[in-house]
Assembly symmetry: C2
Homo-oligomer: 196 residues x 2
């Protein structure tokens, strides 16, 4: 098994193109707690960067101001542990910008892996994705806010992960919960002694 320093998994949190509850394509607003929760879980599991993706310039400015507070301002003095997680965040205008940024770092285009709670096609299993990450190629794992990634976005991704299946016929997790569970399944402890 590769150690986290050899694993090249990047995360993107997408605010466009995502859908609302009528399945219309929208641009969602950035939620501050998403940045904290997803950067903290990403830091815990050795993810290399977290891209906050929004085409809205004022939203990108808002995120940068929030990061300034925690990286350089009063927040950094109050809670340096949060600083270490939020340092992973990069703010970009599009998913393709995130892909290009990773290409610049890794000298190869990352393969893109979408997540979708309702995906009915042939998905990529968590075990298989884990094996792929251990082979050392870079991957960009994407999560949609609001009611999830648009259908076209999902279809244009190289892979789609299997949905999280709950026990109770109910599968409406927050993006914060879904990202936490998926990252743990792919990058958490594994092997014969799984999770123990």
């Amino acid at each position: 098994m590769k150690t986290s320093s050899e694993i090249k998994v990047y995360v993107a949190l997408i605010h466009h193109p995502v859908v609302n509850k009528k399945r219309e394509i929208i641009t969602s607003a950035v939620t501050g707690l998403d940045l904290h929760d997803i950067s903290r879980v990403s830091k815990t599991y050795g993810i290399k960067a977290v891209y906050i993706v929004t085409p809205l310039a004022d939203q990108r400015t808002l995120v940068k101001r929030l990061l300034d507070h925690w990286l350089c301002g009063a927040g950094a003095r109050y809670n340096p542990i949060r600083t270490r997680a939020l340092e992973l965040i990069k703010v970009v205008a599009s998913h393709e910008d995130a892909v290009e940024n990773i290409r610049g770092i890794e000298n190869i285009r990352p393969e893109t892996v979408a997540t979708c709670a309702g995906y009915a096609g042939k998905g990529l299993s968590y075990d298989r994705f884990r094996e792929m990450t251990e082979e050392g190629a870079p991957y960009l794992l994407t999560f949609g806010t609001a009611w999830g990634l648009s259908e076209a976005f999902i279809e244009n991704s190289d892979y789609v992960l299997d949905p999280i299946s709950g026990a109770a016929g109910y599968n409406h997790l927050s993006v914060r919960s879904a990202a936490s569970i998926i990252i743990d399944r792919v990058l958490g402890p594994n092997g014969d002694n799984e999770h123990s």
Copy 2:
């Protein structure tokens, strides 16, 4: 393996006694998003109820108003999916009140299972806790807000779950992420074909 309808796992989100970053015992404020995220993951995995525990009467009133909005008010019409999750929530003044409520439902006192990111003692493994839940006894799984459950609270619990160990020497998850990952590890899909 038992189905979720046979598993008697309850969750409590504790706002007192928890500690601040100086390890002083405090009462934390309720965070609205905790209620949404933790009830949604609980509903997904077949948990029987989610106790929001705070000794502050005004905080309990606040939670009940929030629940009214989603269970009966405009929120219920806007998003009935959230209603189904929030229906799991019960608001109580103390952990012991949650234990007594479960005793009334199950006719037996539940065993209590604490979670602690920094626990250095001999913890309960996720696999073992999964087996215990499948044997059918009731359990109350507790999560601390702020900087976590107080030491005395943890010591008075029947069990303490192993901490979530990340790959990167950093383990500072939000309570929303920790609860999501722990519930998935204990009640998610298992067996030879784990997570696939």
